[in-house]
Assembly symmetry: C2
Homo-oligomer: 317 residues x 2
């Protein structure tokens, strides 16, 4: 805890107690929260670390929202309706406590946007980097698709667009973009858009589902491995934002550019397989076959996957 | 994640998947766990950081068990029956992955001892110190006492003995103890004994309850503040282990020694108030009165609280 025990109480009272809007959280005055779910619960946990998952100097408002959203994305892919979370905050001992105000404001904004309540937490002082660990809970839907249900013959779909966040990180590192495109892409890096609203509808039709966080190719490989099937991704079908499409057009090789976009991480879209067209705002990008692994198609031919698949979002690498 | 994505899978498969004994954890192959509680759930989260809450060089087996036990202690004080947990592991990027074996062994030992299952988790690479954040869930009992229920006239009780862990830390730092006493006390520091078995019985009779983690005096002050009452602690009634009693006898002033023991942290006993003798293996150490704050009695007189109350377990201070 920064400073003293008195500070701990002041910090909780000032920044976090107003976020504990669930009665069972008891205003964070207790050591535990009491929840009474009316059915099965889906629970997930994901952490982000300064210098690894976000950049030193990133606004703490955005960092807080990202910490929530990477977890919301996991619940969305399982078709769950998020209701609350616990937050462990590792606060650098040399960072002034007043900077928590921005962090709390970010949490408050996303609590409002996603109908969440803070259920509990812990704030500990660390000699290391700022880090946030979130445990997010949601009401399960009628179905909770696993990663393992893909069957040969299923189609492969993804929500939204792919590669924006990776390009956003490149823009933040100084790669040249048209100003509006650079802002858009950086925004996609800083603030994922978890598909919470689409999740339940996808869960009802998907044979397998997961969120895209390590990159489309790497995550498709997980779906393939979990079900012992082969997944074929058609790079020509990859859904791109206008900004990403403009970037791809500027690259020397169109298919290399598309395979790079499919290797970037931090998309936080839902990747799923289904036996029939799902009637959902998603793009069909491939199919499930007998076999193992992931294959990439472009212009009707096999394309080699880029070596960096799945790593781009790890800043530290 | 240390190394590569392939390592991440290997690490999960090797060290953590065997701990995911709850069917809803899906062998940690998914991004979320599905649980179907048969009633209200109590949930808590607590983190420990190397150099702050445990010592550099501490056995990772013991570190892992401590991370679970500080959370089990919170649930015990609420009378809940723990069933599962999520673990976020912040693993220093320069620490070899094979050292996770000892950590996993510690988790396995306590899963067995406390009938727990690993429900999910995240392992992230950090340039900072080793840290573990645990979210622990338990089935609520018939009553879930808060911190806020103490009433003037109630008695104050505590389980077990007080001050051992703080003396254990002193022993580990080189303070001289008889060898057997030093070992006993260091063991109490390294491996808390959460009162999981006593918790439900206490919850049924307590007007307020919490676990003692920041020190008896500091935590009693929290009970007093939460209920707007005064808590009087009789230092002469403080339950001491034989090792702590021998230490106290060697000190120049008996009451100063006892107030130091009551200021140490990391006891992980249950402190509770109740209107009548609870019929539980616990020691009556004081009473609840009208007023505010905590007062200490010794030899029938008021004693001044030591200035360090509540901080001793923060190694970094």
């Amino acid at each position: 805890m920064p400073g003293s025990e008195a500070d701990e109480f002041a910090i909780i009272a000032r920044y976090f107690a107003p976020l504990a809007t669930h009665a069972g959280a008891r205003g964070l005055l207790d050591d535990a929260a009491l929840i009474a779910p009316d059915g099965p619960v889906v629970v997930t946990t994901d952490a982000i670390v300064e210098g690894v998952h976000f950049l030193r100097g990133d606004s703490l408002d955005l960092v807080a929202r990202k910490a929530l959203r990477v977890n919301l994305s996991d619940l969305a892919a399982k078709g769950a309706a998020p209701f609350g979370y616990l937050l462990t905050l590792f606060w650098p001992s040399d960072r002034p406590a007043h900077e928590m105000a921005a962090l709390a404001a970010g949490l408050a904004a996303d609590q409002e946007e996603f109908a969440l309540a803070l259920l509990g937490g812990d704030t500990v002082s660390t000699p290391g980097p700022l880090a946030l660990s979130v445990t997010m809970m949601g009401r399960a839907g009628l179905r909770t698709p696993s990663r393992a249900g893909a069957k040969a013959g299923d189609g492969l779909w993804v929500t939204g667009t792919i590669g924006d966040s990776g390009l956003g990180l490149a823009a933040l590192r100084g790669e040249a973009f048209d100003a509006a495109d650079g802002d858009y892409l950086a925004g996609r890096y800083h603030l994922p858009l978890p598909r919470v609203a689409l999740g339940p509808a996808i869960a009802n039709v998907a044979s397998a589902a997961m969120d895209v966080s390590d990159g489309l190719i790497a995550d498709a490989a997980k779906l393939a491995a979990a079900a012992a099937v082969r997944i074929e991704i058609d790079l020509d079908a990859l859904p791109l934002s206008p900004a990403a499409a403009r970037w791809a057009e500027r690259q020397a090789d169109r298919l290399t550019a598309r395979s790079q976009l499919a290797a970037f991480g931090d998309d936080y879209e839902i990747l799923f397989t289904a036996p029939a067209a799902p009637g959902i705002a998603a793009t069909r990008i491939g199919q499930v076959q007998a076999g193992t692994g992931v294959s990439l198609l472009g212009g009707g031919r096999q394309v080699t996957a880029p070596p960096a698949a799945g790593y781009v979002h790890r800043i530290g690498r």
